[in-house]
């Protein structure tokens, strides 16, 4: 009863605060777009956008690419959810991408986008994103916009705090959202305080290939680790992670984990951790997690189970981890472009705490501590503080920077973006976002070199921004022009899933490296048919392998007979095209899994089980040419005991399919004869 009263009082105060703080512009949900503001978002036909914005899909498990400032949706990149549209996760080559220690997990909840960095700037090579539910980190190759790697993170739960990158992409830092027993065991939930532990994880990234590896984990008290950022410039080598539930509650968290006036910011010296690792201070522990990596030449995903992890314990590693108090239930944690200021947002606090890296270091130097937790020193709150931003709004969540000394913070409860001066801690401007914003993004806004031209606020609850579509509405993003003194709302645009976080990057850093097609000579797929001359059908016991080629506007072979019930048919489709944007699709009647989209020069395999005797059609699903409708064929299925011989062909050229070159030679010979 008592806790309920406290909660109700708190809620009442928040509502009161919201009413008190709102200004009159928030009374209307209509956008007041002044003058030619909308013109700024207009990108005429035939012109490119200036930036790519990569948005995580939240519960969709995917990533979407938008153009800025137009807000045009460019592509949905499947990452953690199977995607029947192109066969991702269904094709034999990509199935292994979903392997985890829990078995095949064909969905997830994707939250934080991190673009690879060199010297604290985006380099446009890779994009990393976390799977929150089944803890995983994925890598998308930005030359192809395809997911090429997924690494599972063991012994954590709810990998929300991930995958935050260091300024030379040395590490992707993550922390467990839910502390759990490590290793997992059957214990009473009310033994939380003694049995539950948290882990902070460091995944290293290969500087050439981008391959990920779990370098080490740090064992932490059983709190909830929420968000993180890494230092930059002078604070490079340090990670900062917000924690909540320092109360270590395990039930009715909304009340029981909101009791303390202050929670904690964890500060990790990862360079020191590397030293301890080298000294052998880490303990190896048996565990199980999966590493799924696409081979570049075959484009086949190989899955490996890893059975060991190295854990560093702060008690054995002095100077590696510190805590500092941070106001009530912090969420965001952001480091400014200079690397000096660290913003800790207490989402239930009316004020925001801004820390100074220099002061933190001085406090550590002089051991200005207020005790410790499990051997982790707690720095005195005031000693590390740069200052407090007084009453900027209600429910501060996330902060990004424009590179001109200004910070922009979203306020979930008071529904606005607030611009403030990092050095002087003065509020400079506020703009309503009309319903609750979560993350926001400025191109390069978390790097050393932000391009402070636009800001996109991603709304969590949209209400009435668009035409209604039943009980569920399109999620919304709002684009602001932040090039002037005041922020200017320029555009609303709908998004897929709940766009949790986004990063935006200059188009010029990606466009020159985009692949137009895969070179057929480089196709190392063991079942590729690299020309129609190699198209064929082979029986391997009960398995029938169809080595099929696709080119405008036919599939070869297009007549297949001799398939029997009980056979398993593998259609290996190689797209022979060597031109931009000429994928071919493949669909066969009664396929219970998916269709395929095969990119030029690539091979993809669809498994098909015949379901009854008869003749069934297959065809190209991606409109590829004027004769696309004609791009089809038949597969004949006979009873299991029948003696129909295996036969295949194109244009009655059974079993001796001719390739284009042979055809050309025949035509030439004919012409010489004429």
């Amino acid at each position: 009863m008592k806790t309920n009263t406290i909660f109700l009082t708190l809620f009442f105060l928040l509502v009161l605060g919201a009413v008190f703080l709102t200004d009159c512009s928030q009374r209307t949900t209509q956008t007041i777009v002044e003058g030619d503001a909308a013109q700024q978002a207009y990108v005429p036909p035939g012109e490119y956008d200036e930036f790519y914005a990569f948005m995580s899909g939240g519960f969709s498990g995917q990533v979407t690419a938008y153009g800025l400032p137009s807000g045009r949706l460019l592509k949905e990149i499947p990452v953690f959810s199977k995607y029947p549209e192109n066969g991702y996760g269904y094709s034999e080559e990509t199935k292994a991408m979903f392997n985890t220690s829990y078995g095949e997990v064909p969905w997830d909840d994707s939250h934080h986008i991190e673009l690879s960095q060199t010297d604290g700037e985006f380099d446009g090579r890779w994009l990393f994103v976390n799977g929150n539910n089944t803890p995983r980190i994925a890598r998308v190759d930005l030359t192809t916009f395809e997911t090429v790697e997924i690494l599972e993170i063991p012994d954590v739960a709810g990998l929300h705090c991930a995958p935050f990158i260091t300024e030379n992409s040395e590490y992707l830092v993550s922390g467990t959202r839910f502390s759990v027993p490590i290793p997992q065991e059957d214990v009473g939930i009310d033994t939380y305080q003694e049995n539950f532990k948290g882990l902070i994880n460091y995944v290293s990234v290969d500087p050439e290939e981008g391959h990920m590896e779990l370098a080490f984990q740090i064992e932490m008290p059983g709190y909830n680790y929420d968000l993180a950022r890494n230092g930059k410039g002078k604070s490079h080598g340090w990670s900062f992670l917000t924690t909540y539930n320092s109360e270590q509650a395990h039930t009715l968290l909304e009340v029981n984990a909101s009791q303390k006036d202050k929670d904690l910011l964890a500060i990790v010296n990862w360079k020191k951790a590397e030293e301890y690792l080298e000294q052998g201070k880490g303990q190896t522990r048996e565990t199980s997690f999966y590493h799924n990596l696409m081979d570049e030449s075959t484009s086949i995903v190989n899955s490996t189970e890893v059975t060991e992890t190295t854990i560093l314990n702060p008690q054995d590693c002095p100077g590696m981890v510190y805590f500092i108090p941070v106001p009530k239930s912090p969420h965001g944690c952001d480091v400014d472009p200079t690397g000096e200021f660290i913003v800790g947002n207490g989402k239930l606090s009316a004020d925001m705490s801004i820390y100074s890296f220099d002061k933190l270091m001085a406090a550590i130097e002089s051991e200005d501590f207020a005790g410790d937790i499990n051997g982790i020193p707690i720095i005195n709150y005031e000693s590390g503080l740069h200052g407090i931003l007084q009453k900027p709004g209600l429910g501060p969540l996330h902060t990004e920077f424009d590179g001109k000394g200004n910070a922009y913070t979203t306020f979930f409860i008071s529904s606005e973006v607030v611009k403030w001066d990092v050095e002087s801690l003065e509020v400079l401007d506020r703009q309503s976002t009309f319903y609750s914003p979560g993350h926001l993004v400025i191109p390069g806004g978390e790097t050393r070199k932000p391009e402070g031209k636009y800001l996109v606020a991603m709304n969590k609850i949209t209400k009435d921004r668009y035409l209604p579509t039943g009980p569920e509405l399109a999620h919304s993003a709002q684009l602001f022009d932040i090039s002037g003194e005041k922020m200017k709302l320029v555009l609303d645009f709908p998004t897929k899933g709940e766009p949790h976080y986004a990063q935006a990057i200059s188009a010029g850093k990606i466009v020159p490296n985009v692949k137009k097609f895969y070179r057929i000579e480089d196709n190392g797929h063991p079942r590729a048919a690299k020309g129609e001359g190699q198209a064929r059908v082979e029986r391997e016991g009960k398995e029938v392998h169809v080595y099929m080629t696709a080119i405008r506007s036919h599939l070869a072979p297009d007549n297949i007979e001799g398939i029997k019930m009980d056979d398993e048919v593998y259609f290996h489709i190689t797209n022979l095209e060597q031109d931009w944007d000429v994928p071919h699709g493949f669909a066969v009647q009664g396929a219970t899994n998916a269709e395929l989209l095969v990119m030029p020069g690539q091979t993809r395999t669809l498994k098909w089980k015949p379901f009854k005797p008869g003749v069934f059609a297959f065809y190209c699903t991606d409109f590829c040419s004027a004769l696309h409708q004609e791009m089809s064929g038949y597969v004949r299925v006979s009873p299991a005991n029948s003696d129909v011989p295996l036969k295949w062909g194109l244009n009655n050229e059974n079993t001796t399919a001719t390739n284009m070159r042979e055809q050309a030679e025949q035509q030439l010979a004919q012409r010489v004869d004429d």
Binding site: Q578, D579, S625, A626, L627, M660, Q667, R671
Partner: protein
Amino acid sequence: MNLLNQSQRITTQRGAARWLMLLGVILLGGLFLFPLWQITLEAAQFPGGLRLNIWIDRFSGDDGTDSIIQNINILNHYIGMQYIEPDSIPELVYFPYVVYGMMALGVGTVLLNKTWGYATWLVIMVVLAILGVYDFYLWMYDYGHNLDPNAPIKVPGMTYMPPLIGEKDLLNFYVKSYPRMGTIFMTLSILLAALATWVSIRKEKVHV
């Protein structure tokens, strides 16, 4: 005094013819460094156009690969044009040898340093160049007219020969065909040979 000047001039002119011819022979080597001709197919759905470069010994796209031929072949198969098959075009094999031969002959004329030598080389080269262009025209005529009767798209009365030089509408494509650096180098080589011949003739006139 006057006579001495004249003989000096003769010596210089003899040298000039040699140097001009030698330069011409070297420039002929440009045929191996640059494409001879370029055919561009422009259409709304191909921003920047599809560009086919024709070299003395091969075809290429602007990216240096031959995937352009496959792409043009795929487009052409709707209207029943034959596949362009570089391997089935014998000229691409022997033309380089003809050029090597002419370069060797050119060096011969430089050593010989006689007007008739330069003139003969010039005449052979001009004839070869004309024959080369005519041969190119024949191939284009053949590709443009010799259509597969079973072609999916048949437009009555339509042929698809690109212009030898110039621009033309062909169905949905606007086709441009122009000589490139290789041809310019060859032309310069011919002009230099002509100049060498002329200089050499003047030298002999003075001598006589």
